[in-house]
């Protein structure tokens, strides 16, 4: 009921604005005030929606790159990328931590080709950024060192809807991992997982 009322209110506001738009510009059926010559002739002047729609049609691999085009592009991509189409993979993702506070993520496809390798610093474990564009369906492998830290597991738990691995392997050092983070992670994993190894 409340949402209904809110929707109607929004609709009324929208109509009121539209009416204002019209009535300001019309005197006896004539438009007043001329728009500048190049009014809305530039892509950059378009509202967010067409821009977002263009980005949705781009190949997944190109979307993160497009953040460099301008601040506007960056803003729109960050805003809507988690609902954009993702690159699917039956491959594996390997988390390693060779040095404390550093996380290396490797993504390996079905044919054992390494597709992505990136190292993240502890202060900004930008995993969610990566998972915005990739859907992991294969194996998740936590190897060397403190690769399954609370920060990592928490981010994965949060992003779980978009990654459904078949197998999760913990081969690293879990001594620093809290039970809560591990439990939250495992609860999330439960439905999709077929094998779990410690």
């Amino acid at each position: 009921m409340e949402t209904e009322v809110a929707n109607l209110q929004a609709e009324i506001d929208r109509l009121r604005r539209a009416l204002g738009d019209f009535s300001e510009r019309i005197v006896c059926g004539q438009l007043t005030g001329k728009l500048p010559d190049n009014f809305l002739e530039q892509f950059s002047q378009l509202p967010d929606r067409p821009l977002e729609q263009v980005l949705r049609f781009l190949p997944t691999r190109q979307v993160p790159q497009m953040r460099r085009v301008s601040r506007r592009f960056n803003h729109v991509i960050r805003k809507c990328s988690s609902t954009m189409q993702k690159k699917e993979s039956k491959g594996s993702v390997v988390f390693k931590s060779k040095h404390p506070g550093e996380l290396t993520v490797e993504w390996i496809d079905d044919h054992r080709n390494k597709i992505v390798e990136t190292t993240m610093a502890d202060d900004e474990v930008a995993l969610s950024e990566l998972l915005r564009f990739i859907r992991i369906d294969g194996i998740m492998y936590f190897s060397d060192g403190l690769s399954a830290t609370d920060e990592v597991l928490d981010q994965l738990s949060k992003a779980w809807l978009t990654i459904r691995p078949e197998m999760v392997i913990f081969a690293g050092d879990l001594s620093q991992t809290s039970r809560d983070s591990l439990r939250a992670f495992l609860v999330k994993v439960g439905p999709s997982i077929m094998w779990l190894h410690f």
Binding site: R25, Q65, F73, V116
Partner: protein, 177 residues
Amino acid sequence: MIQLCSNDDPPVSFTVPRKAVELSKTIKTMLEDLEGFDMEQTPIPLPNVDAPTLELIVKWVEQHQDDPPPVEKPRVEDDDSDDSDADDDQEPEVVIPEWDKKFLPTDDEQKNQLFKLLNAANYLEIKPLLDIGCKYVADKISGQTVEWVRDYLNMENDYTPEEEAKLKEEIAWAEGL
């Protein structure tokens, strides 16, 4: 028949069958709200659309007035959290029909006309037209470099060199995708 007026001075008006004009959700809603008024006699001014763009819009809606209505999919408003339902992220394939391919202003010197058309389709909420227009632009910039895209879309690089370098580093992982 419904009359639509462009934003020019003097306005240029077009007479369009009601069925065609209702492909625009904006106008359809408006006509429904004004049920009871004689809308056949009342021109509808479109403050965001100039005559050449309106002519294109009219051409398009007349051509497509008998199309089956598109399947509505609720829009997921994203609030930048990762726990939204991002599972169902398959975009339906958009194919630009032959007629539309010829219709779209695709010459390079007509680029601004294309952008104006996208803006009008967005404002008038003509989703299928917005989709094919955006699809065309996406196909055009697909596989191109950042610099090329900026140039094609007349976008200015508003990053400082330091910011751009940092961003480049941040997204380096995606090069392998």
